[in-house]
């Protein structure tokens, strides 16, 4: 069986998906209107990565799980009050922008430095994970660049399942187009796993886990190094909400037959 692995999950924070977002242009590029006021959540795909890696770490004796988050300290603290109740982890924070209008190369450079500085960091046992795309920038490139910076050339994106086999190899399912999966076997860590939704459901809040995590979260936030993450070399010409708003025709009091007939005609292109 595999020896203990070090799972490092990179997960930032994003505005709660239910919030209305409005871009505003500032001197250094676009930002979100009232960004500091918007309630935040752990980036959804990265949150799946956290739950999946926690489940794997639990199965493999001697493993450890580090959650590395880059975001404004105050927001991170707020999000960790909830996220910290899900699974046990060591927490490392970087104090900087979690906004989407930043460059993945700059984010990756800051994360790489933090990972190299982790106590007892052993690259050969590293499972570097995160969401395959963020819900902010959505570029799907940060983990790749981070992997490159750490010298990892076994990388997987759109991961829904990882099975650590008896010989320590990893059997990995990655999403492809059209509802297909590619199955690959990697000889072992170090690897990069960009998770999609995975198969592990969101764990319920566990106050005991929350208490234990918060003992590490608060000092980690106090120690959080300030990092400057921007978008050097990018000129944002426009940042706009989609203009199209549909004039919705609301059909009430029609019989199921009438509705069905209209839908079928529409499907058939009449």
């Amino acid at each position: 069986m595999a020896t203990g692995l070090h799972f490092v999950v990179c997960a930032s924070i994003v505005p709660d998906p239910l919030q209305t977002l409005e871009p505003v242009m500032g001197p250094s590029g676009p930002a979100l209107k009232n960004e500091a006021m918007l309630p935040a959540v752990l980036d959804p795909w990265a949150a799946h990565a956290l739950y999946e890696c926690a489940a794997l770490a639990k199965k493999i004796a001697g493993s450890r799980l580090t959650l590395l988050s880059l975001g404004p300290k105050a927001k991170l603290q707020q999000v960790m009050m909830t996220a910290g109740q899900k699974v046990p982890f060591e927490f490392v924070a970087l104090d900087g922008s979690a906004g989407g209008f930043t460059e993945s190369a700059e984010t990756a450079a800051a994360l790489a430095e933090a990972i190299r500085a982790l106590p007892n960091f052993a690259p050969e046992n590293l499972v570097l994970a995160g969401g395959w795309e963020s819900a902010s920038r959505g570029a799907g490139t940060t983990l790749q660049i981070l992997g490159e910076l750490l010298g990892i050339r076994n990388q997987f994106q759109g991961v829904d399942e990882v099975h650590v086999q008896e010989d320590g190899s990893l059997r990995i399912l990655e999403r492809l187009e059209g509802g297909k999966y590619q199955v690959s076997v990697c000889a072992g860590p170090p690897v990069v796993l960009g998770w999609a939704t995975g198969t592990v459901p969101e764990p319920p809040n566990n106050p005991q886990i929350g208490m234990t995590n918060m003992r590490g979260v608060m000092p980690a936030l106090q120690r959080a190094k300030a990092v400057a993450v921007g978008a050097q070399g990018v000129k944002f010409v426009t940042a706009e909400l989609p203009k199209q708003k549909r004039e919705t025709r609301i059909v009430k009091d029609a019989s199921p037959e009438e509705v069905a007939r209209e839908i079928v005609e529409w499907i058939r292109g009449h």
Partner: protein
């Protein structure tokens, strides 16, 4: 800035070009004309000769190739090595590839090796005042951004729908082989298989005219106070078979399996559309038992005509997110739809 373009394409295992590549050819040709810049084609795969012949008349200056059995299957180490070698051989300042899972897996990493920058999910590239402007979405299709970059090389993965597919006569091509040295470390990952449901059970159909989305309402108590999941499953499967539609689901319905709730056998996480799901491209979309909340509807950005069936006249679809909202019972409506589709 004098630009040089590279059209970068991984070739399928059977030697064919990926479907979206034809659109990317058009986009690169247009960009080349707009910039008055030449472009190369860079192909990698087990055998790229057939693909190169298909592109013979596309106007490329050179056809560069990385070939061999090691490049047959998608694998980060070998794909990134091939893409890197092709980009270096071309010395292109802008590298454009069709967006698919194979390209998306490596583009960021390769851009890093060449000290460039990468943009996945571009929906348009155009030349404005002699400069390249790229359009892509931020915050999961909620904010549309047009940007320019100083960094070169600039790697761009272009989504389908960005241009009309190119077509032209095939012919002989002088392929320039590009060498890539692989080590054992590059082969630590082994391709095992492609997993997919049997054809008659495949519910995700990217080429379908219609996206049919089922929301969690299908698995909730109905007017008689009972849950009718088996019937819901039957109605939906019948509709998919008769209409040829692709099946999508909301987060709440696909999450039910993990939460111990009633589940539709035809639904998995792969079907999920929205914030943490996919953003499919279909001409039409029909939502049923789904409230049209923003986290779901962001996945509908590229669905042109939208209709919804929901019992709530104030649901999200009513607020400018659908063209038509039918305030009706989806069970009753879809039963009738299936009858009509049979006739």
């Amino acid at each position: 800035m004098t630009e040089k373009l590279l059209l970068l394409i991984p070739v399928e295992k059977d030697g064919a070009l990926p479907k979206t590549a034809w659109e990317t050819v058009s986009a690169v040709r247009a960009l080349g004309q707009g910039l008055n810049a030449p472009f190369d084609v860079g192909l990698w795969g087990a055998d790229v000769k057939h693909a190169a012949r298909e592109l013979a008349s596309c106007g490329a200056s050179r056809f560069l190739a990385v070939e061999g059995a090691d490049f047959a299957d998608a694998r980060y180490a070998t794909d990134s090595a091939a893409a890197e070698a092709l980009a270096r051989a071309s010395q292109a300042t802008v590298v454009i590839a069709p967006s698919n899972s194979r390209v998306a897996r490596v583009l960021g990493g390769v851009s890093h090796r060449l000290q460039g920058r990468a943009d996945n999910h571009a929906t348009a590239v155009q030349v404005v005042d002699g400069r390249i402007q790229l359009t892509r979405w931020y915050y999961r299709q909620r904010i549309m951004v047009v940007l320019e970059r100083e960094h070169r090389p600039w790697f761009i993965a272009l989504e389908s729908g960005a241009a009309a597919p190119w077509s032209g006569p095939s012919g002989d091509v002088a392929l320039e082989p590009v060498g890539v040295s692989l080590t054992d470390a590059d082969k630590r990952t082994r391709f095992e298989a492609i997993q997919q449901p049997p054809a008659d059970q495949q519910t995700i159909r990217p080429d379908a005219e219609l996206l049919f989305v089922a929301g969690a309402g299908w698995t909730k108590k109905q007017r008689d106070g009972q849950i009718h999941v088996e019937e819901a499953d039957r109605i939906i499967r019948e509709f998919l078979a008769k209409s040829g539609a692709s099946l999508g689901g909301t987060k709440s319905i696909v999450d039910q399996a993990g939460e111990g709730g009633a589940v539709l056998s035809c639904m998995s996480h792969m079907n999920q559309v929205g914030q943490t799901g996919s953003t499919p491209r279909h001409p039409k979309g029909l939502a049923t038992c789904c409230h049209g909340e923003e986290p779901h509807v962001v996945g509908w950005r590229f669905i042109n005509e939208r209709r919804a069936v929901n019992l709530d006249p104030n649901c999200g679809w009513a607020h400018g997110k659908a063209d038509v909202l039918y305030v009706a019972d989806a069970f009753e409506v879809m039963r009738k739809v299936n009858e009509l589709l049979s006739s």
